[in-house]
Symmetry: C2
Subunit: 354 residues, 2 copies
């Protein structure tokens, strides 16, 4: 039975992407070669890389002459230190909205002074801090647009003079915002873009080359930019599947169209969480994430009963992260509304049975 | 038509691995989920990671209590700086046997003093230097066991008191040597192990934790070791396919058995290079690589004719690297002897036609 996959990442991708990727592992476009055995310098793969990069820029509505898209390895975690290597001269401002923000702070601390503007750690990160002001003299401001673990999402971004670096791992390509506000956007592929193993970085060229330190080649955005993400062997298959997913997104009508679908899914989910007396939402309402809905049972003794209902319905990956407990419905771009309805039905069934 | 794939990496993998990987992209072991959408924390993937790690140790005959196997991202190029981050206190000894060695030297230079023991750059890296002695007071000795571009391979390793770090990207799992001589072995997956996007590191635990510097988490072997390569999201699919390839290797009889096959392929290839007056080998005979045979035409005007013969025969990826020119036959573990025979036949056909 095909599962309803709410996994927080790696996560569901479009079914037609699975089909195409599976075929390419056997034979890429009737080339007689698997996507896994072709050279990254081959014409076929250079085209894949180009297409993936230009689709990413297109979806983010970023001008090609100002921004460069890179497909790197290492995950978003590598970007915590890599972004600091490239932009930190003396000090930077960070917003602490969750476990991932906190890890970004920790790594950047190795290379300069980190000023944490505000933190929602006092309430186990169940909200987004809003009253802070970013000093003019920082090298950059770093934030996390969507907090995967806690289910909060930034709906507004502060006025800043410095470059803005954003960890968009769990909500990139999911909503129509002004991406040109950001100078560096990074995201592990394994939510809205593709399989684990590729990391997207969209970087404004004008903010690079301003630090004095010597940067190791593999951690230097300019090195990768100069070689168009081919400084060393890229994660070929993950880039290929990312390209397929970005093509799928385009066929869906792009970010604007998918945002509508994402809103419909999130609305259905949160409506039931609020309506159903057996469930309670974790995140502050105004900061709720459209990607990850976190919620708990009001009566823990119903846990086994609810889990059984979920298993029967073929629901996978709804467990909450250990630091929040309860449940987390990750509703990334490729998750159909139907899957949300299946969970809502299980919640209603629990209410009937309880 | 299925190609005879001599690509230098990414490169041919076993056909049955392509089949299994293709199926898993649709549905992993009848789980109702694609290998691309499962959580890296799922039981299914934790088992894959465990199996891949223990197979790697088994093939290298390294004791589990002394060595830890990591599956990381970033490629061998990231290991140039990562190994130095973890082992360089003040100075290290490097052997310069090719373009990749030289890049390793360049990166390590950022973190300490690099003494180049010997270099074969004087003859465009067509041999392995042998007369050098490694000082006792270095933090480690770094070498490249197989020089992918130039087609040379270390047949003997020097006596060293310091820990030995080895870039084994292009000959790991291909020959039966005493791997316990090494303290850190690293290799990009994309030759003998799997698809691009995973990097194998086998590290002797006792050589870690001896430098004073603060190491960024993602570049710290101890951080990854403590989390068993799950500090952050690993490159799930590349690790899975690596596991399949290591299983295949075991079914072939392991490293000892594959070495025999590799020797047969290399012998057939070099015999024809030497016999055929139209071709000449690039590397010094005693240092010839069993993995990458580099050779040139004695008469450049035959180039188009030979290329046509190769195309007709369905041969892919035989072009030499631009720094050597001519041809490079990469004969990794999964390449069948039959493919070598096809190239040999084309070389003989050229001789007839010329
Ligand atoms: C917001 C955010 N940042 C960073 C990460 C870490 O990503 P990776 O595992 O690719 O390093 C995650 C992982 O889920 C995440 O959700
Ligand atoms: C011996 C050797 N070292 C290092 C590398 C670089 O590997 P990567 O592209 O994975 O960084 C290669 C690539 O072919 C190689 O052959
Ligand atoms: Mg978080
Ligand atoms: Mg409620
Ligand atoms: Mg080389
Ligand atoms: Mg000859």
């Amino acid at each position: 039975m095909k599962k309803h996959n709410f996994s927080a990442g790696p996560c569901i991708l479009p079914q037609e992407v699975f089909q195409k990727a599976s075929q390419a592992v056997l034979d890429l476009d009737n080339s007689g070669l698997s996507i896994l055995e072709i050279s990254h310098r081959s014409k076929a793969f250079v085209e894949v890389m180009d297409k993936a990069q230009s689709l990413a820029l297109e979806h983010l509505k970023l001008p090609k002459d100002e921004y460069q898209v890179l497909f790197l390895q290492g995950g978003a975690s590598m970007q915590f230190i890599m972004s600091a290597f490239n932009l930190m001269q003396t000090k930077a401002a960070y917003l602490d909205t969750g476990a991932w923000s906190a890890k970004a702070v920790k790594e950047a601390n190795l290379l300069g002074k980190v000023d944490v503007m505000a933190s929602s750690k006092d309430k186990n990160y169940n909200y987004i801090p809003k009253d802070y002001e970013i000093p003019k003299d920082v090298d950059y401001f770093h934030c996390t647009s969507n907090n995967t673990i806690f289910g909060t999402q930034m709906k507004h971004f502060p006025k800043v003079d410095a470059p803005v670096v954003c960890d968009m791992s769990s909500d990139i390509f999911s909503r129509d915002i002004d991406f040109s506000y950001f100078d560096v956007i990074y995201a592990g592929a394994q939510k809205n873009m593709g399989p684990a193993g590729a990391t997207l970085v969209a970087v404004k060229k004008s903010c690079l080359g301003k630090v004095d330190r010597k940067i190791p080649s593999m951690l230097d955005y300019q090195v990768h930019a100069a070689k168009d993400s081919m400084f060393n062997t890229p994660p070929v298959f993950s880039v290929y599947v990312s390209m397929l997913t970005l093509e799928w997104l385009k066929a869906q009508g792009g970010v604007k169209a998918i945002e509508k679908q994402n809103k419909a899914k999130a609305d259905a989910m949160y409506a039931e969480i609020d309506r159903n007396p057996l469930f309670t939402g974790f995140a502050a309402k105004e900061d709720r994430s459209m990607m990850n809905a976190t919620f708990n049972l009001t009566d823990e003794s119903l846990k086994d009963k609810f889990n059984n209902l979920l298993v029967e319905a073929g629901v996978n990956g709804l467990n909450g992260h250990r630091s929040v407990g309860g449940y987390r419905a990750s509703m990334y771009n490729a998750l159909p509304l139907e899957s949300v309805q299946v969970v809502v039905k299980a919640m209603q069934e629990l209410e009937k049975q309880a």
